[in-house]
């Protein structure tokens, strides 16, 4: 069981004179839990999500983001692990390294990449995650040796790419993908389309959930995955999110404006973000209260307390 621990996180826009957006965020999300992060526009919700994933547009000026792993998070790793392999300071890692350790960011506006089929993309992503995990846990020396091997040419045929026993093959991948898509009730025609290109808003969101199902992250941060969805699609996507938790024990940090999705994805914890920090936390009932009364009372309460 993994835990994502955010302590006193401060961040600003990376360019010179950039706006100070996060002003001391404290948050802890463990696998198997569902957290809702709510708050008005501009309060720092999306920035929190991007900073967790390592977006280069933000500079962290204070605080830390720690990922604690457990035995069962690393049972696919073949090397002997040290104590430090269970505790990772995400701020020292590249976005792809964070992804490899089990952090997933579901985007509000996913990129559209022309010419890259879904199948190709997903298989490469899965293999990249596998490779990066090996490198992270094996340490830098062995990682370098791996890098050299990569350019040594194809051992089989150029069509198959460099031989590597650890990578998922085409057939095995297809099987896995079909299974995950069935789970989300997605049409197989998706797979030959280009990554998000020409996808409807709903298809994009479904695709984000599919990726999370396939990559099996420890913690998934889903940024307004409910925006722009009609009610049917909202239900599909919600089922997918619940499956992430129920089937693979993913911890979910669900960023949303609306109570609506929380009717389908019931949160264990609800946090209200105001002016770059968590102003109030509570159970599922907090979301209902916000729906009825807005954020003003939270603000008043928070500033009185301060």
């Amino acid at each position: 069981m993994a835990t994502l621990e955010i302590n006193n996180l401060h961040a600003e826009v990376a360019e010179e004179g950039g706006e100070h957006i996060l002003r001391g965020v404290d948050l802890e999300v463990a696998s198997g839990e569902i957290h809702a992060l709510m708050g008005p526009n501009g309060s720092g919700k999306s920035t929190t999500a991007k900073v967790i994933a390592g977006h280069p547009a933000y500079e962290v000026t204070d605080g830390e983001i720690i990922l604690h792993l457990d035995e069962d998070d690393v049972d696919d790793v073949d090397v002997e692990l040290d104590e430090e392999d269970y505790r990772w300071n995400l701020l020292e890692l590249e976005p792809n390294e964070r992804a490899a350790l089990g952090i997933f960011l579901g985007f509000q506006y996913p990129a559209e990449i022309e010419g890259v089929t879904m199948t190709n993309f997903l298989r490469q992503a899965l293999n990249a995650k596998h490779d990066e995990r090996e490198e992270l846990f094996a340490g830098e020396d062995e990682a370098d040796a791996d890098g050299e091997d990569e350019d040594a040419g194809y051992e089989t045929s150029p069509m198959e790419g460099p031989a590597d026993d650890g990578e998922i093959g085409v057939a095995e991948f297809q099987e896995l993908l079909t299974e995950k898509m069935d789970l989300l009730d997605m049409d197989e025609k998706f797979m030959q389309r280009y990554l998000n290109a020409g996808f409807s808003g709903g298809e994009k969101k479904q695709n984000e959930v599919l990726q999370a199902a396939l990559l099996e992250p420890a913690i998934a941060v889903l940024d307004e995955i409910d925006s722009g969805l009609d009610i049917d699609r909202l239900q599909d996507v919600s089922e997918g999110i619940n499956a992430l938790r129920d089937e693979q024990g993913t911890g979910i940090l669900q960023i949303t404006h609306y109570q609506r999705i929380l009717d389908y994805v019931e949160p264990d914890h609800v946090h209200v973000m105001l002016d770059g920090k968590i102003a109030k936390s509570g159970g599922a009932e907090l979301a209902t209260e916000l729906e009825d009364e807005g954020y003003d009372w939270v603000r008043e309460e928070a500033y009185e307390a301060a």
Binding site: R98, A100, I113, P158, L215
Partner: protein, 474 residues
């Protein structure tokens, strides 16, 4: 076509000749009649070919260097007075190419990185003659020959198919008077491919010529002549998928394609030149009524490239399709595009041009679409997309449209973009590292080209682009 076939003239005699002539050639400054006579004599050519060479030489001397095109690559280093020593690299180097181990490191390195197995490397460098595709080729060749298809080395074609060559070689399609480098080519051309497809014949497998490693050294001026008679069909692929061994720095090829009535020719090429090469080619097709021409090309490498494959849509209903990709890295100026002349009614053309530039490289799309008076009902669509890696790189688009007819349909669309940080971040957040993310975006960008190529070429094109992006070719 095997590398063996491309050099099946009497190799030993040619080397002897070169040894004898080496000092004479090097003493000679500039292109002279004597030089041309020696080349022609070496090839045992008929008198008419020698006369054409000499006429082309005159034209070459008469024409000025192109210098005044807006934004054209700098050709001031191309010193025509130094050309001859370049086409005759010294004998040691030439002999050395027969031995894999004596190839320059960067070329061996490229083969390694391309993942080309040793056996194939040997075949490509002219050592080992046997590898699987040769057997396949032989089988195919037998089948084609029964149907009257001709596919051979251009030098051989001059000897064995003299009438066809005499009629078509640099007469109506690419005359030496076309431009200075066409004239140069006409004077000193050597090697290349000759393809003839008779009426109503479909060559159902791509005809392939490998110019990957040219141990003859003179193939830098190769000539390709394709004649597709009425209702025939052929796909010709020229693979230059590793840097040519380049002891000299000018490549000036010529390609002529004749597409008969209702015929269909696809010419595909993946080329990668060493970074000291000036790549100045002339490629043109003439298309008769309802014929169809397709140009698919990936241009990689070179210091400067000026290449605008062109099509003359001569007959009613003829059509043309261009797909090109260019990649420019540091110090490279890749000036490519397409030209289409709509000279008959109801002719159609599409041009899709993609370019990638990084580390200060420059790409330019230079295109011309001419719709003649009387070419009513014709249509053309031009699309140029440029992708840039950084703020140092540049990309220009210079589409010229000359429309002399009112009932036509003309579309032009250009997009220029930097590889998006958000796109890269998205892929990184899915586990791909920075390089792989960029590579994936670029592979997607060039996908319209790779999907048109047989898989082995597509794989190699992708791999070459990947190597270019790593900056490990050069």
């Amino acid at each position: 076509m095997s590398s063996e076939d491309l050099q099946d003239t009497d190799t030993e005699a040619r080397f002897e000749f070169k040894k004898e002539q080496k000092s004479a050639f090097q003493a000679e400054k500039g292109l002279t009649e004597e030089t041309i006579r020696l080349i022609s004599e070496d090839k045992d050519e008929p008198e008419w070919m020698l006369q054409r060479r000499l006429r082309a030489l005159e034209q070459f001397h008469e024409m000025p260097m192109p210098t005044d095109w807006p934004g054209q690559p700098d050709l001031s280093e191309v010193d025509v007075d130094e050309i001859i020593p370049y086409i005759r690299p010294d004998v040691d180097v030439r002999a050395g190419v027969d031995d894999w181990t004596e190839l320059p490191d960067d070329i061996k390195d490229t083969f390694d990185k391309l993942g080309i197995p040793e056996a194939e490397k040997n075949a490509l460098s002219g050592v080992g003659a046997q590898y699987e595709s040769e057997v396949v080729y032989q089988n195919m060749r037998d089948r084609w020959e029964e149907k009257g298809v001709i596919f051979c080395n251009m030098d051989k074609a001059v000897q064995e198919h003299e009438e066809l060559v005499r009629e078509h070689f640099m007469t109506k399609c690419v005359p030496p008077s076309d431009n200075k480098f066409a004239a140069l080519h006409g004077a000193i051309w050597s090697g290349g491919s000759f393809v003839y497809v008779p009426e109503d014949t479909t060559v159902d497998m791509p005809v392939q010529a490998y110019f990957r490693m040219n141990s003859e050294g003179m193939g830098q001026f190769e000539h390709t002549l394709i004649i597709a008679e009425e209702s025939s069909e052929v796909h010709y692929i020229e693979g230059c998928s590793a840097p040519k061994y380049s002891a000299f720095n000018l490549h000036s090829g010529g390609v002529e394609v004749f597409v008969g009535e209702d015929a269909h020719v696809q010419y595909s090429t993946v080329q990668n030149w060493s970074k000291n090469t000036y790549n100045l080619n002339t490629k043109r097709a003439i298309v008769e009524e309802n014929g169809r021409m397709e140009w698919i090309s990936g241009s990689m490498g070179s210091k400067a490239t000026m290449l605008y494959p062109s099509t003359i849509l001569k007959g009613r209903g003829a059509s043309d399709n261009h797909i090109t990709i260019a990649f420019a890295g540091e110090g490279q100026d890749i000036d490519t595009g397409a030209k289409v002349y709509h000279n008959a009614p109801n002719t159609k053309s599409t041009i899709e041009s993609k370019s990638i530039s990084k580390d200060g490289g420059r790409t330019n799309y230079r295109g011309l679409v001419h719709i003649a008076d009387g070419a009513e009902g014709s249509s053309t669509a031009v699309e140029c997309d440029a992708l840039m890696f950084d703020n140092e790189s540049t990309s220009d688009t210079m589409p010229y449209m000359e429309i002399n007819e009112s009932t036509v349909d003309v579309a032009h669309e250009a997009t220029v973009g930097k590889i998006g940080d958000e796109d890269i971040f998205y892929l990184q957040s899915r586990g791909l590292d920075d390089d792989d993310a960029k590579q994936m975006i670029v592979s997607g960008f060039i996908e319209p080209i790779t999907e048109e190529l047989p898989i082995e070429y597509a794989v190699e094109l992708n791999r070459l682009v990947e190597l270019e992006m790593e900056g490990s070719l050069g």
